[in-house]
Amino acid sequence: MVLIGENLHIISQKVSDAVTQKDKKTLQQMATEQAEAGMDYIDLNVGPARKDPEVMGWLAEVVQEVLDVPLALDSTNPLAVEAGLKAAKWPPLINSASGKQESKERMLPLAAKYDCEVILSVLTDQGIPSDAETRAESIMDTAAYANDLGIENERMWIDPILLPVSVAQQGVVACLEFTQMLPDLLPGVKSTIGLSNISNGVPEELRGILNRTYLVMLQRYGMHSAIVDAFDAELRDLVRGNLPGVVDVIHKVMDGEDVDLAFLPPKERDYAKTTKVLVGKILYSHTWLET
């Protein structure tokens, strides 16, 4: 599975300060740490960057001074993304375009113009689709539009848009269903997902296990990549096949097998409980590991 490191994110105070103060060293160090943690891409999230779209170009150069890792250019602002595209040494990934009219008109053409790969989300002007079927409908439209621009399926990374399990548990189940459907819908496309969003609003110490369990589940259904917390070592171990015991438990629960929690070691038990929540069998609450 291709992992995209999410940690260079403008919402982080450290990143925001470093960008404002043009503190190259801090940013380079953060990028390097992610690469050393085995990230295949480094995501550069500059937010909308309305005042200074050029910041993406600067940031791309800063990171490339020390690293030979492809970049994901993360902004809703096409001007910022284009600044990054001009500066990128390695073929970058646009993060992201969507079915919103403005995105179709201004962001998607950049993928055609710079001949690069692009994350395409199911978002439209109507908002985030509610279930797997409406996600499918929405992405079919947007992908057809992209095809017309000359962007072939192989260059698209489809993002089903994951919402927090604490507020939209059905959406979590819908993203799993959608991931299973995707190869039939759009043969040849890749896929990705903003994984950490699943645990937004969840107590900090409980976020990791939600992220990790869900990624194993998505991996089983053929998810090509994910935008993840680069420093979650257990997450990397899981998707790289170093914890087969845990993966096995998650798969069994996904298959509806009768897993007797009482006989599982504590760690596997927690993963089993988390899987039950993420397949939608058990209503989410912050106390899910305690019952």
Binding site: V167, Q169, K281, I282, L283, Y284, S285, T287, E290, T291
Partner: protein
Amino acid sequence: MSYRAPVEGYKGKIVEVVIGKGDRAVKIGGENILAFNQTFDEGEFPNPPKIAFEVWDMEPQGWAPWVLEPYKDVVSDPAAWAKRCEELGADFVYLYLISADPNEKDTPPEQAAELVRRVYEAINIPLIVYTTGNEGKDPAVLTKVAEVLGGENLLLGPVIKEDFEPIANAAKEHGHCVVSQAPVDINLQKELDVKLARILPREKIVLDPLASALGYGIEYCFSVAERTKHVGVMFEDAMMQMPIIANFGAEVWKNKEPKEREELGIAWEEVTAISYFLAGANILVMRHPEVFNVIREMIS
């Protein structure tokens, strides 16, 4: 051999909660089907929904005259007011200790508890006691009420995530039920239920997911109540199997239009009541006696 159509039932069952004791004990919950879904013999709804009438511990301001009409001679005496509710046929009296709120009269806990005792002694039906949801004041008031009315098995509420511990502990010590209240959020509701269930058995807990009025977000409240029942009855989630109280009387009658036109207010409260009834509420807290009659007829 005669043909018998297969019947699909559910495995989950709402917990049966008893409020009050002795002659005035009333059971709620206990169903293993969804409200009004008993087409064949899938399951049972052994205890039809019950109706509570509202009594305030101070003279209400801003109530529509037609809502106040049946009580206008007794509004300054909560005990007499409660008695009147019983005469009108209420299953419960819902006593609202609004005056204890620091933003109202900040009535001391002892005085509030004494009033609850007086109301309780005036009636022969079980008593629900609500405070205003003030986390600073409620625990002192409700623990005092629990102590003074020890063993009478009142329904005390609301307990919220900030103050559930002292109130639930007092209910446990003195033998009462509590209302678990979360703000129209099924996930937070479950979290609070899990925490409460470590202190009290489920048979001592009633859920209040909040109930807004028609036109003021009833869709959200309806969905949360309905889904709570789905999760409890259809998906067997033990922490969502407690009965539900829908407290919408005040939500309906605080609006401008029901205060201006009686028939419109009645229709408004009726539609709101029927909605929560359909969502699966086990106790309805309402205000207008005419609405009460319509709903009573529906229930029977």
